[in-house]
């Protein structure tokens, strides 16, 4: 059985204003959950019958709708040096805490209406239809990283040998977007690793089962990686580890075996990564290097 794509990506939490209360959205094991709504099925029926919108349910729907949306890979962060702060036009599903009394109730009601408008696709102040992908991105960096990982993993599956013909065709049509998504994240990682913001990078996107490689290319770097590098390595926070650039990651016991290249750009060497640290909602990945490289 193949390793779940979400293994090694710790849970994350975002707060939303939902029906006048502060709720949590929790991402874990590849799924977004709304623990404030224990009986989702019934609440969905009530919501539909009463025409009432719940920000949490709308967020779940939006997440599902955008789980393979390549636009997420365009809009979201390329790495730690590229923070993306998205603020909805109106007060959004995050950010309010600590008020009481009548004023707080009024605020919550206003925000509830605003969140409903955001999630419901109504027109905003700009006159443009709402983009609920923007609302998902506004849930914060950790959720952004997990949305990126979700989308990348979805497309990685379509690129694998043996994918259904329709999936393979879709992946082929999406190849420019996939290559660009890989390129941006690889270049950002390499530039941060080398400390050279103008580093020239020649990227070849190889098949998912092909052997990745990284070599010096004049004053730049030539690197061959599969698109799956985004979900397997980058999304787990293993793009760089112990001053090495991570080419590939494979499960090893309760941790990971990372194939990585050192600063001398020599042949890749293995690094053993220990088990995930306790959940940390502020980090896109819970892995940490556990065993220093022996070389």
């Amino acid at each position: 059985m193949s390793t779940p794509w979400w293994r090694g990506v710790p849970p994350a939490v975002a707060r939303v204003s939902c029906d006048g209360r502060e709720h949590q959205l929790r991402w874990a094991a590849g799924e977004l959950q709304a623990p404030g709504h224990p009986d989702l099925g019934s609440e969905r029926i009530l919501s539909a019958l009463a025409g009432q919108r719940f920000a949490c349910l709308d967020a779940l729907d939006a997440w599902s709708a955008h789980a393979d949306d390549l636009r997420a890979l365009v809009l979201a962060s390329r790495g730690p040096a590229d923070p993306v702060t998205v603020r909805p036009d109106e007060p959004g599903p995050t950010g309010w805490t600590g008020r009481t009394g009548r004023a707080a109730l009024a605020t919550m009601q206003r925000r509830r209406a605003a969140v409903s408008a955001v999630m419901g696709g109504g027109a905003g102040a700009s006159g443009e239809p709402r983009d609920d992908l923007a609302t998902l991105l506004s849930l914060g960096g950790p959720m952004q990283a997990r949305l990126t990982a979700t989308v990348a993993a979805s497309w990685r599956e379509r690129l694998r040998n043996g994918a259904a013909p329709a999936d393979a065709a879709a992946a082929e049509a999406a190849r420019p977007a996939l290559y660009a998504a890989l390129y941006g994240r690889v270049v950002a990682t390499l530039r941060a690793w080398t400390g050279r913001p103008d580093l020239r990078v020649a990227l070849t996107m190889i098949g998912e089962s092909a052997q990745p490689a990284l070599v010096r290319d004049g004053d730049g770097i030539a690197v061959e990686l599969p698109f799956g590098w985004v979900s397997d390595v980058w999304a787990r926070g293993l793009g760089t580890c112990w001053d090495r650039f991570g080419l590939a990651a494979a499960p090893a016991g309760d941790g990971w075996a990372l194939s990585a290249v050192g600063p001398d750009l020599g042949p890749p060497a293995p690094i053993r990564i220990s088990a995930p640290r306790p959940p940390n909602s502020h980090s896109p990945a819970g892995l940490r290097p556990g065993i220093p490289p022996s070389s």
Binding site: R71, V74, L75, V86, D89, G127, A180, G184, A188, R191
Partner: protein, 446 residues
């Protein structure tokens, strides 16, 4: 080149913009992203819909990073609304332009009526006004741009209710020999010393009026049309699509003073396979760009090797010996790639000359934010040539526009050859050009 390759090129341009955000404003027309998209769409390497979606996505990604999300969405919404509006009929009604050259003295100062344009829709009085307080030595001197203010026509507010300069009227009452009386509102720009602009009267005076009255004076309108004024539309000589695009783009980029954008266009066309990397046209374009955007490419002294019309234009750059005056034309072209243009008049000064034009449908000003980032925006280069073999290049100056109609001044450089007796104004698209021939019979211009 497959469309997917063009898409990849454009997406990588977007990724590079994100990786180096200081070098990119994804919604500017000369940004690498917009420039590459425009080139790829123009040569058919990418559909406008696909390219626009990519440009918009990366534009939004850049806006998130720059904290300009709300502004981006506003610009994009305006653009979408503009696209969704039904296309107006490409027609410009008949108009009659009549030179007046009439100075009217008033207690508040002077009004010089250069010419009048009459049509079924609006009557426009092109004027220069100077307040009585302006020192005599200042009169006749064009306002310094650093001191220029503007006012736009906002509809009737009651005669004399507002002024534009020190004591200058914002509205006038005008009438004609057929019993029509209307109120004309001013829009234009100026300084403490002088305001130039137009009074627009709606409802209009009679298009065939024999005279008009304003400020207590009667002004005759001779019925004879301007002699020798002609307009036609002709196809451009056959040339490859990529070549036509490069030259048209170069002419339009003169607005931006952006040699990098030309290199981006070349790169996109080569990547798309629309242009061979060793195509001789690339070298010619670079040489012209070097002359056009001084400090890049070929030395400006190498003009002799440049192709026309660029050679003669660049050779005369910086000259300031143009004739001074106004030549009224009042001619409408046949449709040019869906746009009908009217040339109202040509004004010339020592350093430059300009054409007063109207267009249907409206053309946005190149500098307006909602007009930028449009991947299939038609290229329209404003060329001119005189009967002495000299060429000139223009760009939009003061401009007013909505979706249906636009107009304003197209400013040309270098200065007109004072010996020229005939001028062809040539708005040029990638496939055709209008040729509007104007005899240069100068009258006083304020």
């Amino acid at each position: 080149m497959a469309q997917s390759d063009a898409e990849l090129y454009l997406r990588l341009t977007g990724e590079r913009a994100l990786l180096d955000p200081a070098a990119e404003d994804g919604q500017r027309d000369d940004s690498p992203l917009s420039t590459a998209a425009h080139a790829l769409v123009a040569v058919g390497a990418l559909t406008a819909g696909a390219a626009q979606a990519i440009v918009d996505d990366y534009g939004l990604a850049l806006a998130y990073r720059g904290g300009e999300h709300a502004h981006f969405r506003h610009v994009r919404a305006r653009r979408a609304a503009h696209r969704a509006a039904p296309a107006p009929a490409p027609a410009l009604g008949p108009l009659r332009a009549v030179p007046c050259h009439r100075l009217i003295e008033q207690p508040w100062g002077q009004l010089f009526l250069s010419y009048v344009v009459l049509s079924d829709e609006v009557t426009v009085l092109h004027v220069t006004m100077r307040p009585a307080s302006a020192p005599p030595g200042q009169r006749g001197v064009r306002a310094h741009r650093s001191r220029v203010s503007r006012v736009g026509g906002q509809g009737p507010r009651g005669a004399g209710s507002r002024v534009v300069g020190p004591g200058l009227p914002r509205q006038l009452t005008v009438s004609d020999d057929q019993g029509t009386t209307s109120t004309a509102s001013f829009s234009g720009s100026g300084s403490d010393d002088e305001w130039r602009g137009r009074f627009e009267a709606r409802p209009p005076l009679a298009p065939d009026a024999a005279w008009i009255e304003m400020l207590g004076e009667r002004i005759g309108l001779p019925s004879a049309p301007s002699a020798g004024v002609q307009a036609r539309v002709e196809p451009l000589p056959d040339a490859g699509l990529a070549h036509r695009y490069l030259w048209a783009r170069l002419a339009s980029l003169a607005e931006f003073h952006s040699p990098d954008a030309m290199e981006t266009s070349i790169g996109a066309l080569v990547a798309a396979g629309a242009l061979a990397a060793d195509d001789p046209a690339i070298g010619q374009v670079r040489a012209v760009a070097g002359g056009l955007f001084q400090g890049s490419g070929a030395a400006s002294g190498a003009n002799a090797a440049l192709p026309e019309p660029w050679r003669s234009m660049l050779a005369r750059r910086g000259r300031a010996s143009g004739p001074q005056g106004l030549a009224v034309a009042g001619v409408t072209t046949p449709p040019l790639d869906g746009v009908t243009l009217a040339l109202l008049a040509v004004r010339s000064t020592d350093e430059w000359f300009c054409a007063d034009v109207e267009t249907v449908p409206g053309l946005p000003h190149w500098h307006w934010p909602h007009a930028s980032g449009v991947v299939d925006r038609p290229l329209l280069a404003w060329w001119a040539a005189d009967d002495r073999g000299h060429h000139y290049l223009g760009r939009q100056g003061e401009w007013h526009a909505d979706e249906d109609r636009s107009g304003g001044q197209v400013e040309f450089w270098p200065a007109l050859d004072p010996a020229a007796r005939m001028l062809d104004i040539m708005p040029t698209t990638m496939t055709a050009r209008a040729v509007i021939r104007v005899p240069l019979e100068w009258g006083e211009d304020g």
